[in-house]
Every structure is written in structure tokens, then in C-alpha cells.
Symmetry: C2
Subunit: 672 residues, 2 copies
Amino acid sequence: MVVASQSLQELCINSIRFLAIDAVQKANSGHPGLPMGAAPMAFALWDRFLRFNPKNPKWFNRDRFVLSAGHGCMLQYALLYLTGYDSVGIEDIKQFRQWGSKTPGHPENFETEGVEVTTGPLGQGIANAVGLAMAEAHLAAMFNKSDAAVVDHYTYAIVGDGCNMEGISGEACSLAGHLGLGKLIALYDDNHISIDGFTDLSFTEDVGKRFEAYGWHVLHVPDGNTNVDAIAAAIEAAKKVTDKPSLIKVTTTIGYGSPNKSNSHDSHGAALGVDEVAATRKELGWEYPEFEIPQDALAHFRKAVDRGASAEAEWQQTLATYKTKYPEDAAVFERMISGKLPANWADCLPTYTPESKKDATRNQSGATLNAIAGTLPELFGGSADLAPSNKTLIKGGGDFKKGEYKNKNLRFGVREHGMGAICNGLALHGSGLIPYGATFLVFTDYMRNAIRLSALSQAGVIWVMTHDSIALGEDGPTHQPVEHIASLRMIPGLIVYRPADGNETSGAYKVAVEQAKAEKPAPTLLALSRQGLPNLAGSSIEKAEKGAYVLSDSDGTPDIILIGTGSEVALCVDAAAKLTAEGKKVRVVSMPCWEMFEAQDAAYQESVLPKAVTTRLAVEAGVTFGWGRYAGSEDNVIGVNRYGASCPGGVALKEFGFTVENVVSKAKSLLG
Amino acid sequence: MVVASQSLQELCINSIRFLAIDAVQKANSGHPGLPMGAAPMAFALWDRFLRFNPKNPKWFNRDRFVLSAGHGCMLQYALLYLTGYDSVGIEDIKQFRQWGSKTPGHPENFETEGVEVTTGPLGQGIANAVGLAMAEAHLAAMFNKSDAAVVDHYTYAIVGDGCNMEGISGEACSLAGHLGLGKLIALYDDNHISIDGFTDLSFTEDVGKRFEAYGWHVLHVPDGNTNVDAIAAAIEAAKKVTDKPSLIKVTTTIGYGSPNKSNSHDSHGAALGVDEVAATRKELGWEYPEFEIPQDALAHFRKAVDRGASAEAEWQQTLATYKTKYPEDAAVFERMISGKLPANWADCLPTYTPESKKDATRNQSGATLNAIAGTLPELFGGSADLAPSNKTLIKGGGDFKKGEYKNKNLRFGVREHGMGAICNGLALHGSGLIPYGATFLVFTDYMRNAIRLSALSQAGVIWVMTHDSIALGEDGPTHQPVEHIASLRMIPGLIVYRPADGNETSGAYKVAVEQAKAEKPAPTLLALSRQGLPNLAGSSIEKAEKGAYVLSDSDGTPDIILIGTGSEVALCVDAAAKLTAEGKKVRVVSMPCWEMFEAQDAAYQESVLPKAVTTRLAVEAGVTFGWGRYAGSEDNVIGVNRYGASCPGGVALKEFGFTVENVVSKAKSLLG
């Protein structure tokens, strides 16, 4: 590698800095301080190490770069522009933080090619990076041969003090250390400033020592503002340690170059101001007008285009060899990275009849996961230390651990939030992996931001959430979800399924897998019962896919429609039988998924829930909030609008009114 | 202190073990393994160190004990029973995990006297303990005199591997180390087992070294199953280190004494089974029938009653001295710990007129907090590194830090979840403190379980959440809350306020403070604007307290009711003016709080939202989910049912339809 001269390096680094300074100033909004301080480390990484192809941002074997300190996104946009990505031109940079621009206020993978994951909520990015590195390790173990390594890249992240304060980063990094992810390298922008001021206000721990405790290889570059060679040497050293992830603490000055605002939170989250921008130009000897990059710098950066093309060409050569020598593996590999599913994959999904064993949907979920795993090698997931309860173990899959990266079962430990962001990273690796993450439904509260980000960033994750109501019983109100199903339904883009039996569970997985592989992938969350449920007459995978369907019906127009989800559908069926015996015309609608039902056409929706039939009763063991949409009013719902209680599950259901008698009685009162 | 003989100690420790074993077996549900392994450390602590008064569980100056590994709650119930609390008798233990019992499946402070905080969701307890220790440090600094220390107790916690894997514990413990909370002592039940199996599946970090990195004093007792003296010596040593919290890693065996299930996850979360219970009796030489405690052991435990009475009497003496010598301080202290508010405290709340400066409610919140702080010394809180944005700094309050515990401003760092549980601990210290914790509304997703637990466990916390809609602008969809307000409204027991102006902000704080001091305290969450808003004609503190009220009205029965919350109320007012000019009869209802409105009587509710007026339009910059309750249908709502976008806030509001024109147009279409 030919290293640029000292002066050229400075020119390049200042190019990054002033693109950030000027864009933030033009928008009068944003975070100039991080790009100004982290420009040298970013330059060292992108100029000397990072393998990427600007003209093919999705080149499979690229190194992954994550700006975990996402507020510093102008750093990333500057690098994308300078190195020649088509996704970010100088006009885009001038549109920083404007409506419809490709340069939003935090990095968004769904807006800007070259951005791998969506960051900004602190700590998510480094946890995503752990997921990306796990994906690489897993795929390499699955596919690589001694003479053809088709999967072989590093994952780099830039993290800030904020990321390191967040619990999610601790969770993910502890796991990364445990797994010995040697190709994960994090650069810690140690600038001693957060929004409140100097980090000594709240953050005086020894971060390096903590990462050593996690099992990481830790290095320190004390002069990160100026010593590009030292940063590069540290990255080089990090790459040489192959059995541990590396943290390179790079001590920098936030807002470096700003005479009055550097080393202060004043440069963190606001434009420097016209005068200070001018003073910074003077301080750093920057003679160029705003948004103008000196030709020498641009030309140097743009060498990345040829470098990237060569790197990809070399990999294509490796892939060609691989295809020749290992055609079967290559076929799977190419199918996976193309995002396609095998034809008829869904034939593997279990089906059930009313004679099938009464069972909990968590058990049926376990059976389905195992069936899918036998057909789709890209299924890859696990539980946050609740595998025996969540029923998520793939039999014979082995545990994914240090040196055994081919194995299929992820053991996240009691780290829900980390698990969430890791799953997002696995999905956004873009290699066709279908990750799943599991815990108790109530603990979606521990990982809600990661679930939200899976929907926002189009990460096709399957969230397997068991113990989905007060019916879990004895563990009590801290473990009994009440508001959770409703609160998850309102996350835009998240598909929430609460299946009633085995067929609906299979249907939920059919949707989940297909959505994970869609052009714009969507995550699916499954809410599954702890307790056994009967397999219903009239359920099917196809019907469940529609989100809601008529499970049983009356002759002619119904007097009342009972709408149930999950474990309460069977209750509706039993209540309907009693009501029918008393001469009422009753339709039962099973509604495992609001979102899929709303995606159906109006005619289908009308066929299930005719507008003319206004007497309706919904039954769901959760809050009634929002059920007015289908039941007409929240008063027409049997639900749970308080906390649960510790007692056997059957007792809880009875005490909270989930009995045939109560459903019948409420239905009669609605029928008048 | 007279230490019990070795054989008596064993008898006592086995008494704890078998109460747990038998109760779990009777319930056929629960977690016997932790109590069996942790009984020696619990005995050492409760027998030799913990100061408490079983006959007055709320004695102010008691040491606080937190079982962070809450699933092991039978340990705590056994201790409460054995040491003579009236709250847990042997019959209660036989009712473990049954409907209506005092011995639910995880410790619940609101069910069982002697339980300080509600645990079970892992990591919450140790973070609560950090809050308890901070409360002690703060109150001691506020009130203690060199000759009269009325606040002087330790906070002890038992934490498990699960707690230590959770990010929330890392956040809270990093802060505890930073703050140097010397009177916080955590016993780490290092049993190497979690639900999935041996912790080496996912958790191989060096926990002790991590805590050292946080600034903790770390000790290790390798033979924690048997060596009570070593545990006691470690606690003694921990107490001697006064400038750092201490972690005592006590290596134990889960399910100790069970011949076939010890050191296995089989003893973690299920009853041992009749045969194994018998085998364990044999193994440990326990000859007593179930639920029977040998008299020697019970007599020894019950010495706690006299010990506790003496300890409290001694403290009462100190308090008497204090009252004599420092009557003014004593008056404040006694008022605070009585939970009462000073008469007329609410006179401090700012009021506004339409002529007052247009301002963001986050700024008005800041002014209100400062006003309250001048009147109520118990106000004590801060932000998760967003103080300048959340406007939560108490001017002149100083920063609460090591050695400066009298200061008022908490600097939580970027640790939302830890902040949440710490605030719960501050509230549940029971000393009248009114804690507040602040971040951006979207980051309630990082701390949702702690918010839920504040409601469940009756912790009177004020959650100050700013930047409450897409109107925050440039930071983009990762920072723009959309579903959050609705999703928080559905948490049972949480009061959610979204004030429209200064008076409503003051009203929200009036409710929040009073709820914090209620007999059954409730937390209040405030959703506050980033952007400036006009002060409305017709708003008042009193009206805002009712949750919803008629802000402006038509002559006679309205044709339409516009319902707004927060920043959208002013929009409704402007739209109403236009509609009125066009001859429509329009009522505007400002609805800052659903929960308080629903707490009003039916007549008041009818006076605000008459059933007969069915043409309604709600306007709120969030999901429409659930608004059918007041608007008749979610179709009658102008809301945001997708993710936001990065752009200036005004542009976002316009693009998403929050304009007078759109409200007028939608209103007209509803009017037909």
C-alpha cells in the first residue's frame, strides 16, 4: 500500500472535517464535533484498510463499517461522497437533514446506499456490528474451503462515549468477547465529551479494562487527532489478533480545529456558527470555500473506486473457483445471498388437524423452527437464556461458540436488548440469513428500541415471544404481558402474529420467512402461548396468512361476531357453540394478525367482518386499547386492563373473566 | 455480636433451604435452586449485619435489602417469616404463588411488607439498590449533623448471573462506581448456572474485573456454600471501604444439597419433585416434616425482633436529639418521611396568560422544576445526558457526585434503563423523595420495563420526556416518537400528560407531585415539545388537572368537537377559528391526560364530550391507534401512522398534515 504524504493526509482529513462543518452549518442543525475529531481515524480506516466497492455498495464480501455514534453521520456521508459512492453527491451533502434528502440526520440504511445499518439510538450500532461479525463468522464456517474463502471480511465500528455508557453495548460486547470474534474491530472515539459536558460528570470507569474483562484485545492511541500512522498501526495490530475482538481507544478532541468550541459540548450537537466556522478555517489553514474539496484530496480518495473494483474482481475470481469446485455449496451460497427462497420451501411447515395433540403454540413454534431449519440453512437464531422455555433450540444444530461458528443455536445470555440489535445486524448483513431472537413477551420491554429499529431499517428478523399473557400464571405480574401485544401492533412496519393453534403458527412462520426475504423486508413478531391449546377445526396456513378469517359461521347473517386471537380463539369457539345451542347466529373470526388483515383487499375484509354486522365481541387476554377498530368500541372487548397476578394460569384466566360463561354472558348482553 | 454455633448456623441455613424447597414443591412452581445455594450468604447478612425491625418494616433507618435475583423470592419470604415479620406467616408460605397470597412468584413491594422493591425482571433490583443507596447518601448529606446522624444505613443486594448479564445492571453499577457509593454492598451469587445451562454457554467474562473497571471494591468468597464466616468477613471488609461500592462474589452451588439436581439448571426454575425433595432431606440430614422449623433455629432467627426493636429505639433517641437541637431541619425531615406535602406548595407553580412568551413545554417544564425545587427539597433528579435538551437542571443545585451528595442534579450519563430503575429505587426508599428522570420521548423504548415497574410497584417518579413528536425535526425517524405516547398510555397505572402550554405543564406537575405523594403513589410521564407553543386563552392548572376540558366553545350544541393534545391544541384552536368564521359551531377540547379524564365522574366527562355530539376530530402527532375511544373511530383522527423523516420540524408538521388547512378540510369532510 502506498501511503499518502503527510500533507495530503491532512488535506484529506480536513476535507472530511469541512464537509461536516459546512453541511451542519448550512442545515443549521447537526453534530459537527464528532466528524472533526474522528476524521483521522476514519481516514486511516477507509484509506488503508476498509475493503469496499463504491460502485457496488452491496458487494457481498465488503468489509462492514458501522458508525455506532450515528449522530456523527456527516462523517459517513463525507466518506461516501469522497470515495466515490453514487448514493451521496455533493448536492446531497448540501441537502443534509432536509426533507427527501439522501443525507438524513442519522445514518439510515434504507435511505442511503453504503450505510449498512440504521444508527443514532446509542449503542445499537456496535451491537449491530457484533451481529455483522457473527454473520461473517457463521457464513465463513458454512461455506469457506481451504482453497476458496468466499466469505472473508472484517467488521469495523466507530463508537463514542455514549455508546459505551449504554447497557446494550455492554451486553453485545460481552457476548462478542465470549465468542472471540476476531474480525470485529471497534474504534472508540475517546473524546471525553457528551451532551451534558465532560464525561467526568458521569462516566469515569476504565472502559479499556472493562473490555478486557469481556475478553477483548484492547489498544490505545493517545494522539488520535494527529497520528494517523499510530491509528493505522493499531488497526494492523488488531487484525493480527484473530481470536478476540479488538477495541482501539483513540483519544481525540471533539470539534478539533475549532478555536473556541473544541473540547466542549458546544461543538457536539449544534452548528458551529458562521464566525466559528471561519475561525476554524483559519485555525486549520483551510482556504477552500464551502463544499469545495481540493482536487488532490478528491483524487486520492477516489482511488477507492479502482481499489474497490479490483477487490471485487479478485473475489469474483475466488467465487468462480468455488463454483467450479464446489457447485452444490455454491448453489446454496448464491441462492442465499440473492435473497431468494427455494421453491416449495413452505412444504416443510407442519400442519395439524383437530385430532392433533393439544399443545402450546410455543411448542408448535419449536417444531416449526426445526422444520424450517431442515429446509433453510439460513435460519440462525436463539434465545436470551430462555431456550428451554421459548422452545427455540434447533435439534442437532449445536451451539454457536468460539471456534464452532458453523453451529446453529445462538446462546445470547440474559441480554435481550443486545440480542435485538445483534439480530438486526445478522439480517442487515444482506446474506440471506433469517435471524430469530426469543424471550418472554413481557421482556420485549427490554429490547423495544431494537424491535422498532428492525421495522424501521427493514431487517427481516423473526421475534419469537412466548408466555404471551396472564395465562403464564405463577411468575406473576412482572412476567405477565398485558399491554405488550397492543403496544407492539402500533410499531409501524412490524408484523405481529398471535396464532391460535398449530396451523396458525405455521402460517405465521410462512409470513415471517417470506417477509424476511421480501424486497423490502419486514420483521415479524410472534406471541406464543405457554399453555396447551386445541387445534381448531377450520384453521389453515393459508387462512392464517390473511391475518383474519372466518373460523366458524352461522347460517345466514350472523347476529354477532366473536373475534378472538391466540389462546382466546378456542374460548370463542366454545362460547359460540353454547350461543348457537341457544338459537343465536354466531360467527367466529380468528384474527392472528391485524397487519396482514389490513393488507387484504376491501372485499376480503368485508367478507370476514361485514360492516352491517355491528354486534361484535373481541376476546384477547391483553389491554382492550385499540380494539374499537374491529369491535366497534373498547367496551365490546373482554380483555385485561390491569396488572396480572401470581397464581396458576388457569386460575388467572378464570379470575380475569376468560371463561366460556363470561364470553357467553357478555355476548348476550351485547345482543340485548 | 454472639455468633451462633456451627451446628445452629447449619440448622438456620437449612431452615431457609427447606422452606424454599417445600413451598416450591407444594406450589409445583418456582425456583428452589437459588435459595438453596444463597441461603448461607443470606443468613450471614441477615443474622450478623442487616439492621431491620420486623415489627416495623417501614422503620426509616433500616438497612435496605434487595433480592435482585427476584425469582429466588422464597429466600426472602423464608427470611421474613423466620425473623418474625407479621407480613409472612407459615400459612402464607404454604400459599406461595397462589391467587391472593402474600407470597407471589416474584417479590412485590406492594404485596408484602418487608419487600423494598419489585424484582424479577433481571437487573432491575441491583439498579433499584443503586437508587436506594443514592437516596441514603443524599438524605444523609441533607440532614445529618456531626452529633446526630438520622440517616445512616446500608443497602445490600443479592444479584445473580442473570442480573450481571443485563445491560441495565452495567449502567447502574458504572454510575454507582462513579459516585463512590460506599454503603452499597452487592453479594453476587456466582453459581455458574442460568436457564440455558452452565453460564459458559454465553457468559465467560471476568465479572470481578468488570466491576473493578467501574470503580468498585471487589472481593471473592470461593466457598460460599459452607463458609459463613468467610462471607461475614467479606461483608465486614466491604463495610470498611467507604468510598467505593463493594461486590462480593460468592461462589456457590445452585440447588446445594440436592443429590441429582444441584449444579444444574434442573434446580433453577422448577420444583425438585417429591423424590428429589426426599433425597435432599437425606443429603442434608433434615429430619423435619415440610414447613416445620426446628425450635432452636426459629428462636435464633427471632432474636431479630429484639435486635430490631433496640436498633429502632436507639435511632429514635438520635432523632429525639436531632429534633431538640435542629428543630427546623427535623421538621423538614419528618415532613418528608411522613410523605406529606407542605400546605400551599402548589402556589409555586408558574402560571401564564396568552400574552406570555411563546415557549416550548420543555422550557416551561424546566421553569416548573426549578420552581418546585425552591419549595420542595425532596425533588431530586436529572437526565440521561440530555440535561441541556430536556431542560432539567436545577439552577444552583449543583451536581450530585462523589463526596457532594447534597447536590441536587443527577447526571445519569447515557444510561436510560439504569436511570429508570434508579429513580424507582429513589422513590421506593420511602423517604418522600420525588425523583425525576429525563430523556427524549423516543428513548422510553430503552427504559420501558423500568417505567412499567414504576407503575406496578407504586413508585412516584416523574418521567420528563421531551422532543415528543415528529416536530423535533432534523434528527429524523430514529429520534421521532410516533407510537410512544399511545404505547405509554396503555401501561396500567401510569399517568401520561401531554400538556399544550405553560398552564397545562404546571397542571401536569401538580398532578405528578401529588400522585408521587399519594397513599398509593403513581408515576407520571410528561411528553413535552421541543418547539415553541403559544399560551392558550382558557387554559389553567385546575382544568389541566382534570385531564381534559373545554378550551373554547360554540354557542349552543357544537356541530363538531376538535380534540387536541399538546402541540396540536393550538392547531385545533386556529382551525376552530376558521370553521367558526365559516358558520360552524366548534368546540375545542384540550386533552392533556386520558387517565385523569377517565378518573373524573361521568357528569364531568359528559360535559366535556357529550355523547350526542358524535362528529369529532382528534389531532395528535402520533399514531391514531386507540383514539377511537374519544373520536368515535380512528378514521376521525389526524395522526402519524408511519415513521417520521429527517427535516426541519416545521416541514415535517406540514408534510404530515399538521396544518390549519388540513384540520379545517378534514373537519369539513366529517361535517359532510
